[in-house]
Assembly symmetry: C2
Homo-oligomer: 158 residues x 2
DNA sequence: GATCTACTACTCGGATAGTGCGTGTCCGAGTGGGGCCGG
DNA sequence: CCGGCCCCACTCGGACACGCACTATCCGAGTAGTAGATC
């Protein structure tokens, strides 16, 4: 899995606490000491996916495009890592003896089915977790976290 | 995910129907028109993982090392694709402000926890499916499949 | 004729190239603000 | 003094190298069977 997924998730949680002002990629990267240009690339992907909104120029930056409650971890994984499933059925049964060319073995092959059901369980688990959920649980564990994040971004010199 | 996982699973199902005799990599590859040497590499991985047993020389080949009921799809995925999880937490919180160097964020980071729980669901789904289960469901759908496979391997000229 | 031995053919096993994707970086397009000039 | 215009600095966006892992392949190690020679 793409490493940028982790960066994107943490950045989204931080952005959920800094609504109203756009945060630049540079500041988001500095927060965790990440390579700025590369994080910018991931944020672009989130923007294309409709998770973030971006504005260019001075006073520009990124912010969440919608309520954190409506941003699931699955949304982020799909945006960064792509929509393809990890297991891709190549329908090798088509090359075997007694194969029916008209059958879509992606659906009928039992191995393909088993792998798909496993990935479905994975995706459902991720779809059930929203950025808001994560943020709330962070707060319940470290109540001062949102203020720390806000101060870190706002108190920084222009 | 490694493409060889698909090959390995289908080959294991076929091997579950040809107990008693060792099948060579060449024949297993010919069954689905796969590159012999590369499939051999995957079978080696299964052997190292203790899923298959191999014998060299004439009359050599591979066969299942244990009852198909005790070979889960997860075993095969781990053997071919490696034991690492897809999402690897790099503990970027360690680089953030107010970080505690003594904390293992792989455990305490809520994002890491969420990703781990999702992968756990994925793995549990795979662990619950055995090669014997798959083979049985294939038989219930295509009862002649085992005989076809046996004949395909035994009737082939030496 | 039987037995031991050497050879051959065949298979697994690991070491060796080729290639696509993730990783990392850079420069250009676009934008808002600030300074300067003119009225 | 006030308004408009121009320049500049800053940021996102996409285009450009680099490295690693997956893909694919080949040759050597080891073994079983067989043919031949010897007793």
């Amino acid at each position: 899995m793409n490493e940028g997924v982790e960066w994107a998730m943490h950045s989204c949680v931080n952005l959920s606490w800094t609504t109203g002002a756009a945060i630049t990629a540079k500041r988001l990267a500095a927060f965790y000491d990440l390579p700025t240009a590369y994080l910018n690339k991931q944020l672009q992907a989130l923007t294309r996916a409709g998770i973030l909104t971006s504005v260019s120029g001075p006073k520009g930056g990124f912010q969440l495009a919608r309520d954190p409650k409506n941003i699931s971890l699955l949304d982020i994984v799909v945006a960064i890592d792509g929509p393809d499933e990890a297991f891709r059925c190549t329908q090798i049964l088509k090359a075997g003896p007694h194969a029916d060319p008209s059958v879509d073995y992606t659906r009928s092959c039992l191995i393909s089915q088993a792998m798909r059901s496993a990935e479905l369980a994975y995706r459902q688990e991720l779809a059930a977790q929203s950025i808001a959920d994560i943020a709330a649980r962070v707060v319940s564990h470290t109540p001062e976290a949102p203020d720390r994040v806000r101060n870190h971004f706002t108190n920084l010199k222009a």
